[in-house]
Symmetry: C2
């Protein structure tokens, strides 16, 4: 019902303002940023705030800072990491960027079966127990939102179960990207989420270390739910044009 009120610090404001201008190509790769002292005046903040914002831009791979020289804008498509997806998915006006959404769903679609297989190959009963417990909870709930929460939780545990840190970190970025629009997905995934038997089967395959079966099972499920999202996105795209 309630949620934390937003409060943005000055350095965050500096960061997000410049970030928006970079991802919107208003500031192109190779462009030189105004000097810190000039930015202070333009943004009406002190230099520390500007510098702190710069450090974040630098960490995000959006600008290159050279002591003594000008700060230049980098090509974010070639330099930034997936953590930028969260900012790309929601444009300046808070509008969902369909193309980005499709790309995120696609990447998740590609990774998921492999994650299931890699989790299965470990044959960890500890993981299998967790998954079974989640399936158990799925079977005893009617609430779609709770069901959706459990399925996402299922996938998160699966990622953990692979022990693959690259998967883990990549999925973190994807998760943070679609986190803000989760509620939009509730009714899109209403159908596929209710197919508890798929999760039950998948959990079984993973417990028994059946990598190929786990792969196929995950693929069947994720392909279906991805397709549902694609359809929705297509329709949404049509509707807004």
């Amino acid at each position: 019902m309630f949620e934390a009120v937003k409060k943005q610090s000055l350095s965050e404001e500096v960061f997000s303002q410049l970030r928006e201008r970079i991802v919107s190509q208003e500031l192109k790769a190779g462009d030189e940023l105004p000097s810190e002292r000039v930015l202070c005046e333009l943004l009406k903040v002190n230099r520390g705030a500007v510098r702190e914002g710069m450090k974040r831009l630098q960490q995000a791979g959006l600008v290159q800072v050279r002591h003594g020289g000008a700060t230049t804008v980098l090509d974010f498509q070639a330099e930034a990491g997936p953590e930028l997806l969260a900012n790309l998915l929601l444009g300046q006006d808070g509008q969902v960027q369909i193309a980005v959404a499709r790309d995120i769903v696609r990447m998740r679609q590609v990774l998921s079966p492999a994650i299931a297989a890699d989790a299965a190959i470990r044959q960890s009963s500890e993981l299998a127990d967790k998954l079974d417990a989640l399936v158990e909870q799925m079977q005893h709930t009617q609430e779609t939102v709770h069901l959706q929460y459990l399925t996402f939780e299922f996938w998160e545990r699966l990622v953990d179960g692979t022990g693959n840190i690259a998967y883990r970190l990549a999925m973190n970025s994807l998760r943070k990207a679609y986190q803000p629009v989760l509620q939009l997905m509730t009714f899109i995934l209403e159908k596929s989420v209710q197919d508890v038997s798929a999760f039950q089967a998948l959990a079984g395959h993973i417990r028994r270390g059946e990598t190929e079966a786990a792969f196929d099972c995950a693929k069947t499920y994720i392909d279906a739910s991805s397709e549902a999202i694609y359809c929705f996105l297509d329709a949404y795209e049509q509707g807004s044009t």
Copy 2:
């Protein structure tokens, strides 16, 4: 022959020192960092430098800062993005972390065939021309290092060709992670890199929009080269214990 001399700013030093302590679990998730003023004294630097380092830690998803409260360490496995892989791959002492290397290679292995397929489905002659040009260059070089460069370039163009920003950003992080150890991979991939015909075939499939063939072709190649790396990593692991 020559390379840029390294020069680390104070805020970067602060950032990397704390980052190392976090990823090494020396600072565990939930722990509270010393206050900024205390860190100043411990690190013998100005508070501005500490704060700038903090902003980077925050951007990297390693700490949570609350105005008025203490700054706490986050669970980087649950919060950080793939850009952290570069730091995880090379441990504190500069030693390559085998497990992380395996995970990175595995993720690349999983994504690559899908990337090839997604690039093929677009049937962009512009992309196909670029790929053909690269294959052309491959055929006219004997230098292994140059050949390796061209193959990596081939994959980069392929990723661009998908138009999928999620792939693009994910691969950026993977690339930045293995960039520092590229020269180590030269002789590991010597064999698989020399198979120019595979790239030629793949480029053809992509030009003709043969998604499944492109997928299979890419999979065959990437599975082989991944296997070569796994073997090396296994041997390396044995050798160092």
